[in-house]
Symmetry: C2
Subunit: 221 residues, 2 copies
DNA sequence: TCCGTTTTGTTCTCCCGTTCACAAACTCCT
DNA sequence: AGGAGTTTGTGAACGGGAGAACAAAACGGA
């Protein structure tokens, strides 16, 4: 899934843990907004929907931020996780492909509130250029290079049809983007050192259908 | 992630394999449309973006559908996988929450082409009722029970704000839905026997940010 | 100060998933 | 018919993650 070229730093956190840290972060934010100052691993694990032993092990990769007999300081732990993930800094993002999904992504508040700032919406279709989406003007895809250079964009989101996705990814990589979130169907091939994460909506439904089918079979047996 | 109550059937396919079957299915469809009649595990693995040994082991859980020295018949294998997943049959689906994301989901062609038929779009906001989205009229959320009963819906999609998600899930479970695809933030609690899969867009970006941050640290070292 | 209580951090064990490697099986060519 | 070449299916080794269990550490009360 992820390709790494540079030398690993001192602490390397397991992938499974990295994927759960954002979940803990959200749970901590909820707790903080509810006025909770301190919480136990048991309570936080319940809020995040995981096993408490797993939670403690995950947090131990970051350091010892808890107090035995007491628990974790909600705001302190929240800051530590945010810093570790990198969401304390500002991440400029470009979204390519402003169809239905691109619209939804541009309007998604969960990005901005976590340090991701959409600096540009790009689309190859000239009839869409100039259209305002979520307060941002849709620009030509050919402006990609200048926008990436100007804002120092490292993360790109692909929400185009499947046929265009590889070409978009190639252009992104060529102008220096090193992390891609891909919503288009199919496999992207990118050089080593570029991370790609794929979200496929239909795959999720198909997994549910598989289990649903098995439930039905079990009933008539 | 998934809870199972009924007795397992004869063959139980590993979860990791189940999650990849839809990917193979898509790759096979692409090959078939390109006129390819037969393919090797190596070729299919490349198209699906996985290791060929892993692909062969995955397929071996379904049965022996290949021919040694030759490979797999594309259309035959495609049918077998589709049957195993359950996408040869028709799956009625309801989508609750017709905001930006709900719009995108309703218009997403990848659902319909895989046997998922959106039978209703529901929203609690009365000002949206009657609006036509993707050729379907938005109806009141309170119609959930009658719609589920009428169409025999087993799969529900939640695309509401986070605060409403648990209440929607509870109503879905109460009227017989046993599989839920959840796009809302936060943890859903459901009784055993109900499967929930969660898609969190901001989690994916945060994982990318973590790796991006580490790349940057590696460079200056 | 000392003891009981609570909760973290960590060790250990088990299980699932990935990958290698190879025998079995099939095709094609001579 | 037989051998060379190809490709599947699977046994076995390996690595990583999940969960149980416990020692270490902090707090509170007497």
């Amino acid at each position: 899934m992820t390709a790494r070229t540079s030398t690993e730093s001192a602490r390397d956190i397991p992938e499974a843990t990295v994927a759960r840290l954002p979940v803990y972060l959200r749970a901590l934010t909820t707790l903080s907004e509810a006025g909770t100052g301190t919480c136990s691993s048991e309570a936080l694990a319940a809020a995040a929907g995981v096993n408490s032993a797993k939670l403690r092990k995950d947090l131990s990769y970051l350091g010892s931020y808890g107090t035995r007999g007491v628990g974790y300081d909600v705001d302190y732990l929240r800051y530590q996780i945010a810093r570790e993930i990198g969401v304390t800094q500002d991440w400029p993002v470009v979204i390519v492909g402003i169809g239905n999904l691109g619209h939804a992504l541009a309007n998604y508040s969960g990005f901005r509130s976590r340090g991701f700032r959409t600096v540009a919406l790009l689309d190859a279709d000239p009839t869409r250029h100039g259209e305002m989406v979520a307060g941002i003007e849709v620009q030509p895809f050919d402006d990609l290079e200048s926008i990436v250079a100007e804002h120092g964009v490292a993360i790109g989101v692909i929400a185009t049809p499947a046929v265009a996705a590889q070409a978009v990814a190639d252009r992104m990589v060529a102008c220096g983007i090193t992390s891609i979130l891909n919503f288009a169907a199919g496999v992207l091939s990118v050089p080593a050192g570029v991370d790609v994460r794929k979200v496929d909506l239909s795959v999720e439904l198909q997994v549910l259908a598989y289990h649903e089918q098995r439930k039905a079979q079990g009933e008539l047996a």
